[in-house]
């Protein structure tokens, strides 16, 4: 099923934001010394990767 243009743009925006956040979490993880904070950052990297895959699935369907 095709998506409306405004939906595609919203998803695109969320995906761009999530990409930046994921990169930042990954970088910050190396600089943080507290183990609990490190753990949450790692969880964020993992879940963001999954969420980006979902978003990119929508985007690739939308551009078909």
């Amino acid at each position: 099923m095709a998506y409306a243009l405004h939906e595609t743009l919203e998803v695109h925006e969320i995906a761009a934001f999530k990409t930046v956040c994921m990169t930042k979490s990954k970088t910050m993880r190396a600089l943080v010394s507290d183990p609990a904070l490190k753990q949450i950052l790692q969880e964020d990297v993992d879940s963001s990767t999954r969420q980006l895959e979902e978003l990119s699935a929508i985007l690739s369907k939308a551009t078909q």
Partner: protein, 136 residues
């Protein structure tokens, strides 16, 4: 006998005294940055959700919104536990904010890179040359 130094040792910004409590301060700053990003993510996703009509896109965004809210809660609880964030004691939060603001101003005034570290002129091309970026 007292020893007197003719010229006192000059401190530069790389002196270890400037790094006192720095790992804890840095962790607090990273956590605050992380919290702000989680908060912004929740707001962005919620706004996107209200612009979406297709059931599949809504389902994806709704589940991501839930995960975002959970992440925000996790970071908030950690920060309260670590005493990096005092939502109920405004006085303490104010003092903490003052401390980090002053420290930030100090860091901004430091001359951390005294030498010229530019790499401009060392490469014979720019990454956007093929689209004419070097002439823009």
């Amino acid at each position: 006998m007292t020893m007197k130094q003719a010229t006192p040792i000059k401190m530069d910004d790389l002196d270890p005294i400037n790094a006192l409590n720095m790992p804890e301060m840095a962790d607090m700053t990273f956590a605050m940055d992380f919290l702000l990003r989680a908060k912004e993510g929740v707001r962005n996703t919620a706004a996107a959700l209200t612009e979406t009509a297709s059931p599949q896109a809504r389902a994806v965004l709704r589940s991501q919104l839930r995960q975002g809210v959970a992440l925000h809660q996790e970071i908030t609880e950690l920060m309260i536990r670590k005493k990096w964030f005092h939502p109920y004691e405004l006085k303490e939060q104010y003092q903490l904010d003052q401390l980090s603001a002053n420290k930030t101003v100090q860091i901004a005034q430091m001359k951390l890179f005294p030498d010229d570290t530019r790499r401009k002129g060392m490469f014979d091309r720019t990454p956007d040359e093929h689209i004419g970026g070097n002439k823009a």
